[in-house]
Amino acid sequence: MARKEYAFYPGCSSQKGASASNYLTSVASMCKTLDIKMTEIPDWNCCGASISYAESGELPRIAINARNFALAETNLPGQDIVATCAACWLGSRESKERLEHNSGLMADTQAALKEAGLRIKVIPEIRHMVEVLIEDLGYDELKKPVKKPLNGMKFAGYVGCQTNRPFGISGESFENPMYLDRLIETVGGEAVPYDQKVTCCGGALAFSEPERSQMMWPRRRSRTSSKPPMTAAPR
């Protein structure tokens, strides 16, 4: 019996052979060390990310997220859903909140889910991997398995947008969240103050408007004290 068990939502980018499959490898390795059991939600589907809005409309987008909730609830009852991708986490949580606060939307969603032979009873909690690490394990627990502390290495912890807004991690400030700095310190590194830590990287426009997206970078880099940024979001 593992220390903690979760319904795992890897998201499209983190699949084996996909662009963030290295992230999947890291997560698997980390969970093994921390004795966390992550079981993939069977037949999970894409969350639609932040970009689908124009083509999907509202209900279809909520419905595909709801399908993941129903699958998790049915197959992995009692387990929180844990997403490692910021967009998957954000999209799922938004969908959960809207469904819980809008009975008309919930009724429509149930009607749509019925066509796929699914139904929601209670939507599981939607967590980001970082939330699990900080809230369910805690910084002290995370310090224990550290074998080679990153002594002397400086990091500018870049939090960015979607792990930070609108839900935030563990009730921290949107303007200056400290969780990544604390994680850096937990593994022995030195967290450098970084005034661009929550500025948008432009990732959402990287494919469609690359020049505009890249214009957001020089402003971000020049403000650090030339230390490498470190990020928690695969985008």
Binding site: C12, G17, C46, A49, I51, E58, D108, C161, C200
Partner: protein
């Protein structure tokens, strides 16, 4: 598409605010804006001279009935979903979603700028991920590279050659996806049926609201 535009224009004559309220996602929030400007001041793309009309201005233009100027604007499409505006708005207007909602509405009735690349990406992404339930990354990239024709597609692909090779070598790009051999959901049929129902219900609600 332009028929729908004419129908909506006729239905909501001189009340563009109401049109946005009823037809755009989160549109009912536009009237809550108190024109403080926090959203415009917080927007990262705004600082790159990205918006013809920043969010604050869009809200006022809607209330002033500037229908064509808003719907045909590329402004809303500049939104990167960073949510900076959203968390700072003193009236709790979900600005990010209102922007996306106006953009989607403009697109739905055929009024959005024709070659808007983010609009194209949105359609491409949604079509791609709903085909098999999961994104086929290689096909997605191909569709985007070749959107302006074969020549420009090949050019873009060649520019990214070394990146692609690096990704293949590190197991982060599966070229077989180009042939449609990719991660797929098992219950694709169920997903399609579910989405068909969702589309039907949403269209129905919007049409009901548009009835006089």
């Amino acid at each position: 598409m332009s028929d729908l535009n004419q129908k909506m224009s006729a239905r909501y004559q001189n009340n563009f605010l109401k049109e946005i309220e009823e037809q755009a996602e989160m549109g009912e929030w536009v009237k809550m804006c108190m024109q403080c400007g926090l959203c415009s001041g917080s927007c990262p793309t705004q600082f790159q001279d990205g918006w013809d009309h920043p969010p604050q201005e869009i809200f006022m233009m809607i209330r002033a009935g500037k229908r064509d100027e808003v719907l045909q604007s590329s402004s809303m499409w500049m939104c990167t979903s960073c949510y900076n505006c959203y968390v700072r708005c003193p009236r709790k207007v979900p600005v990010t979603h209102v922007m996306h909602g106006i953009a989607e509405y403009a697109y739905r009735i055929g009024q959005s700028p024709k070659n808007q690349p983010t609009q194209h990406l949105s359609k491409t992404f949604w079509d791609n991920c709903t085909k098999s339930g999961r994104v086929n990354e290689v096909k997605l990239t191909q569709t985007l590279y070749f959107k302006d024709g074969i020549a420009s597609g090949i050019k873009k692909a060649m520019e990214m050659q070394s990146v692609a090779l690096g990704l293949v070598k590190s197991g982060r790009l599966n070229l077989l996806e180009a042939l449609g051999i990719s991660h797929k959901c098992k219950d694709i049929k169920g997903i399609h049926a579910m989405l068909a129902k969702a589309n039907e219900l949403e269209a129905q609600h919007k049409a009901d609201k548009a009835k006089a």
